[in-house]
């Protein structure tokens, strides 16, 4: 478990030697901080207060760390942080939030996670801070620079079963993730394989790649966990049913055994079993991404920004050989990709709420996020101005010979949070993923395994008092 704390730095900064150094660097400081000082707020209003930030190991986190001394000089707020890998991070976070200890002031969260934290009243709505002129210079911060779909994703009215995009804003997005199909253009061209526009064609293409090129035709996440469900698989299912299917019927009864879902799942699992890698059932996101990057797969339907990895000639064997397309749509002709944003929120138990908001505002400001994208490959930008920045355009514009940005723009027209709001999403996803294993290993038919998953989810929701 990786744990880092900045207390050593704090000690150093408070020593006389460091003070001298800091004074010497003040001219440099002015240049670095000038952008933030354009905001018409008093950044020093919480001078001397302390914050602890809970962070998931992520490129965005990496980008923040070197800038934290800058934030301290701007605001006089002391910042400590704790960085953990994703699974451990969320466990630690729930432990802290549920005890209302306020160990973390600012947290890294996102839409689906907020559904777990809002009902017990663990995190704060941010609208109050945004609308307070003393705390936020709206014309400088520019909330409308964020992609509207991402801001909507982080709004929720707190009602189980719906209400995404309505109600208070609980977190400010630091990146955007939607799901697309990446394929080996060189192999597809060489063997005359058609870029799939239906799930059936996708399965055919996967089989053809395997037969001709001798590598798995498709690679996908497969571990028995919610993390395997929400990207390519769920986006494909949403699209296959023209955005109609959802994991619950109108009365919050689990709906995995819906005939459309059964048919789709059969097709998907057959494709993965017949043309996928032998260890699909043990693949996490990075295994799948690395397999494609290493040239060991014909297609992958997963996070769009994995392209940064595929297109990096230093790491990738497939740089410049990848084409991008929408995940195959259903009969209606439209793709409905899921959407996720890592985002910053504020714990309700924190004592220094204003200081926490100043941190969130600073960390999601245009300059901070641009630095994260350019210096630390924090893709995709959550602010439109960053996507449109000439330097960013130069990088992202080259991916897939320009096809990446076009596919991304098209995808974001219809992308939305694919899950139904309720606090037991993780559990539901874990149960669902286990059903996929039962089908893959032929222990149960798709219809039976998915029916079983529905029954189990209904039982959990009842036990949790959600329905």
């Amino acid at each position: 478990m990786r744990v880092q704390r900045r207390w050593i730095n704090r000690l150093l900064l408070s020593s006389p030697l460091a003070m001298g150094g800091a004074l010497g660097a003040s001219a440099q400081d002015d240049a670095a901080l000038a952008y933030y000082r354009e905001a018409k707020i008093n950044w020093k209003q919480a001078d001397g207060q302390s914050l602890t930030i809970g962070l998931n190991k992520h490129p965005f986190t990496e980008s923040l760390l070197p800038l934290i001394p800058e934030f301290r000089r701007l605001t006089g707020i002391n910042v400590e942080y704790l960085i953990l890998p994703e699974a451990e991070y969320f466990t630690k976070l729930v432990a802290d939030l549920s005890q209302q200890r306020g160990e973390f002031s600012v947290i890294m969260t996102g839409p689906m996670r907020n559904w777990q934290y809002v009902p017990p009243d663990w995190i704060l709505p941010l609208d109050g801070f945004l609308n307070n002129a003393k705390l936020t210079d709206q014309s400088w911060f520019k909330l409308d620079d964020f992609y509207p779909a991402l801001i909507k994703a982080n709004r929720w009215d707190g009602k189980t079963g719906g209400g995404v995009g309505e109600g208070p804003l609980y977190s400010i997005p630091v990146l955007a993730e939607s799901y697309i199909l990446a394929y080996r253009k060189d192999i597809f061209d060489q063997y005359n394989i058609k870029v799939p526009t239906t799930l059936e064609e996708m399965a055919e293409a996967a089989a053809l790649v395997k037969k001709n090129a001798g590598i798995p035709g498709i690679v996908a996440r497969g571990t028995p966990s919610v993390a395997s469900m929400g990207t390519g698989f769920l986006s494909g299912l949403k699209s296959y049913t023209d955005g109609q299917w959802s994991e619950f019927d109108g009365k919050l009864n689990a709906n995995f055994h819906d005939p459309r879902s059964v048919k789709y799942t059969e097709l998907w699992i057959n494709m993965v079993r017949d043309s996928g890698p032998p260890n699909w059932a043990n693949m996490q996101w990075y295994d799948a991404m690395e397999a494609f990057t290493a040239g060991q797969a014909g297609m992958i339907a997963d996070a769009d920004f994995f392209a940064a990895n595929y297109e990096d000639p230093k790491k990738s064997k497939v740089a410049g050989k990848v084409g991008y397309a929408l995940i195959p749509p259903g009969p209606g002709g439209k793709t409905y990709s899921g959407l996720w944003t890592w985002a910053l929120g504020i714990s309700k138990a924190t004592k220094n709420k204003e200081a926490a908001w100043l941190f969130v505002q600073w960390a999601t400001a245009q300059r901070t996020l641009l630095n994260a994208t350019l210096g630390y490959r924090n893709y995709n930008p959550s602010r439109m101005s960053i996507t449109n920045d000439p330097k960013v355009q130069e990088i992202m514009g080259s991916w897939g010979n320009g096809s990446y940005l076009k596919v991304l723009a098209k995808n974001l027209e219809t992308a939305r949070v694919a899950w139904t709001p309720q606090p037991e999403r993780t559990r539901l996803g874990d149960i669902w993923a286990r059903a996929l294993h039962e089908i893959y290993f032929k222990r149960l038919s798709a219809a039976d395994a998915l029916k079983k998953a529905s029954v189990e989810v209904d039982k959990v929701l009842k036990e949790a008092g959600i329905k």
Binding site: A87, P120, N282, R443
Partner: protein, 300 residues
């Protein structure tokens, strides 16, 4: 004795024992508190994200376990894995110990090298093996097996492969421990029974069967005890490689309790599962301790 002396004496008499006991008492309290809290939670419906639903539910969590298919399958895996791991590791460990007990060249170097796996944290061991056990020929293990004509083995991607993989990794990490204890035992055995056996004209196998094994039995029971306790509650290797999958084939009680407690935050249920695991460990240890007592008495 004057008053000052008396007072000092009284103070020493009265407080010294407590003072000396204090570190142990503090340690004990530090162990008992979390254990008592965990046991208490196992009788409640404690669920982190629903603080309002906290209730004392008596034995419900335990009774419900019986109807939970995952519990039954993970109990089965826990016991089967422990049996397999102990038999394989103690069997191989005994063979290695007997081999090293003989006069072979480079014995010291081999013994030192054997310690290496013991120094590795199990998670690192597991991750290292996970890389070596890649399912295609790109994995070094499959690559090497291809030289002897073995087709690529689907180590972590199939249910049987995953179980075998966990067994192999656990064995690699713990075999040296077993071998070293047994080797230590062999070296401590008295010479006389061997001489007597030789005089009686016993062959090597008979010596092993009627002299070595009975004399070594306290050591064997000791390693069986340690390996049983560890195998029953193995967690790190499974968590780092399969997360309990595929198709729950490697989910043992410990992994299941972790999932309930820290993935789904149902502390009440998770703690009940952990307590069942604890009872299992305690019962097995108790039985083995009795066996150990008997074995060490009979060899004295």
């Amino acid at each position: 004795m004057n008053t000052a002396q008396k007072r000092r004496h009284w103070r020493q008499e009265k407080f010294l024992p407590y003072l000396l006991l204090a570190p142990a008492l503090i340690l004990l309290a530090g162990m008992i508190y979390p254990f008592a809290l965990g046991s208490y939670y196992s009788f409640t419906s404690y669920w982190l994200q629903y603080p309002n639903r906290f209730r004392f539910v008596w034995l419900d969590n335990y009774i419900n376990l019986v109807t939970e298919p995952l519990f039954l399958s993970s109990l089965e895996f826990t016991l089967a894995f422990t049996l397999a791991a102990v038999v394989i590791q103690v069997g191989l460990g005994l063979a290695i110990a007997l081999f090293l007990h003989g006069r072979i060249p480079g014995r010291g170097a081999i013994r030192a090298l054997m310690l290496l796996p013991l120094m590795m944290p199990p998670v690192i061991t597991a991750l290292m093996w996970k890389i070596m056990m890649a399912s295609t020929n790109a994995g070094i293990l499959n690559h090497m097996l291809s030289f002897v004509g073995v087709d690529p083995i689907n180590w972590f991607g199939s249910t049987g492969g995953a179980v075998a993989s966990i067994l192999i990794i656990d064995t690699w990490g713990n075999l040296p421990f077993v071998a070293l204890i047994l080797l230590g035992g062999l070296q401590a055995l008295p010479n006389e029974p061997y001489e007597a056996a030789r005089v009686d004209g016993a062959g090597a196998l008979a010596v092993l069967r009627y002299v070595t094994l009975p004399l070594l039995s306290p050591f064997i029971v000791l390693v069986v005890l340690f390996r049983t306790m560890d195998s029953l509650r193995i967690f790190d290797v499974i968590y780092a490689t399969t997360l309990g999958g595929p198709n729950d084939a490697t989910t043992n009680l410990h992994i299941m309790a972790y999932q309930y407690s820290f993935q789904w935050f149902q502390m009440g249920k998770g703690m009940a599962q952990a307590i069942v695991l604890l009872l299992l460990v305690v019962i097995c240890s108790y039985l083995l301790m009795r066996l150990w007592n008997r074995a060490s008495e009979s060899t004295q």
